[in-house]
């Protein structure tokens, strides 16, 4: 999986977000062992200290836990993962609504359009099948 680092935000924050997304989407399964900081840093092409900082933040968020001798693991607490997923969804929807507001779209307009698009996708499915 590729890492995407854009240029104007703190790098560790972007690493936190991307690892969080991997946990939520199941790329990293609950209880999975993470690679060493150095290996992860090399994979992402970032400084090991920055990766360390990102992992410390994920530990603080309880998405990741460290076991003194054997390394770092993804949390096995599904509630924590579910909570993170919900928070992320709320953020994304907030950003989406903000953009729609800028386009001058009202709530109903958005809903109608969303339904239309969903139907369109269904139609496409019919054609494919």
């Amino acid at each position: 999986m590729k890492w995407y680092i854009d240029s104007d935000r703190p790098i560790y924050k972007q690493l936190v977000e991307q690892i969080e997304l991997r946990i939520i989407s199941g790329v990293y399964a609950p209880g999975d062992k993470l690679e060493s900081v150095r290996e992860m840093a090399m994979d992402a092409g970032v400084n090991p200290n920055t990766m360390q900082k990102a992992l410390a933040e994920l530990e603080r968020m309880e998405l990741v836990f460290a076991q003194r001798t054997s390394g770092r693991f993804i949390t096995e607490d599904l509630k924590v993962i579910e909570e993170a997923k919900k928070n992320l969804a709320v953020q994304e929807i907030g950003a989406f609504l903000e953009k729609m507001k800028k386009l001058g779209m009202g709530r109903n307009e958005i809903l109608v359009l969303m339904e239309k698009i969903e139907e369109g996708e269904k139609d496409d499915d019919h054609i494919k099948h």
Binding site: S7, D8, P10, Y12, M42, G45, N49, T50, K53
Partner: protein, 231 residues
């Protein structure tokens, strides 16, 4: 925990001041970008740390000592220009380094040469500029030094090799070692840096961590550099 420290470090060439009253402490375990426009004093600073130049005033110490025989054993320096003999084969230069530096790791060097498809039997003079640069960087990074001083290490190499070299820098230095990289190709190395030092006209303008800059200025180090040093 400090590997390099300076007090009012000043260097003049005749009437021209190249560095003026630089005070800094560089801790161990960091990768530091030494950034500044052309002629700002980057190379002078690196040469002072490498012991190739002597301060006009003030002092610079490495692991507590002024640059000299002792510090040279701890410092791995990549110069701007090559000092290797053109007629030598890579394998001969490796033997030379192995003789000269007790901390040189031959196996590491040979693995890196293989990864970058460089034939150890080739002579330097038959190589392109970029390949020569790669060879030099491999030699420098194959030492288990405490401080690496890299003066413009990636200027002439292609982007793919650049990624490999940056990964080499990340993975090869030990946790108690630090790396100082002088460059103007900021965007390319920004992701691997902990801290940056901006110098301009011989003076220290800013020293900060990369993420601090992104946090407070909402822009990359590269973006900030372009703003600060706008011509």
């Amino acid at each position: 925990m400090t590997i390099l420290s300076t007090k009012n470090l000043t260097k003049s060439y005749g009437k021209k001041t190249a560095l003026a009253n630089i005070n800094m402490e560089i801790p161990r375990g960091r990768i530091i970008g030494l950034l500044g426009p052309n002629g700002s004093g980057k190379s002078t600073f690196i040469k002072l740390a490498a012991g190739l130049l002597v301060p006009t005033a003030g002092e610079i110490t490495i692991d507590g000592d002024a640059p000299g025989v002792d510090t040279k054993a701890k410092v791995s320096y990549l110069s701007e220009r090559t000092y290797l003999n053109d007629w030598m084969r890579v394998s001969e230069i490796i033997a030379f380094f192995e003789d000269f530096y007790t901390d040189f790791n031959r196996i590491k060097a040979e693995n890196m040469l293989k990864d970058l498809n460089i034939n150890p039997d080739d002579r330097l003079k038959t190589m392109s500029k970029g390949t020569k640069e790669k060879v030099q960087l491999i030699l420098v990074m194959s030492r288990q030094a405490q401080l690496y001083l890299l003066d413009e290490p990636i200027g002439g190499v292609d982007p793919a090799a650049r990624d490999y070299i940056l990964n080499t820098i990340i993975t090869n230095y030990k946790e108690e070692a630090s790396v100082i990289i002088s460059t103007h190709l900021i965007a390319d190395i920004e992701q691997i840096l902990d801290d940056i030092i901006f110098i301009n006209q011989g003076e220290l303008v800013l020293s900060s961590s990369v993420d601090e800059i992104r946090e407070t200025h909402n822009k990359s180090v590269d973006g900030l550099f372009r703003e600060v040093f706008k011509c």
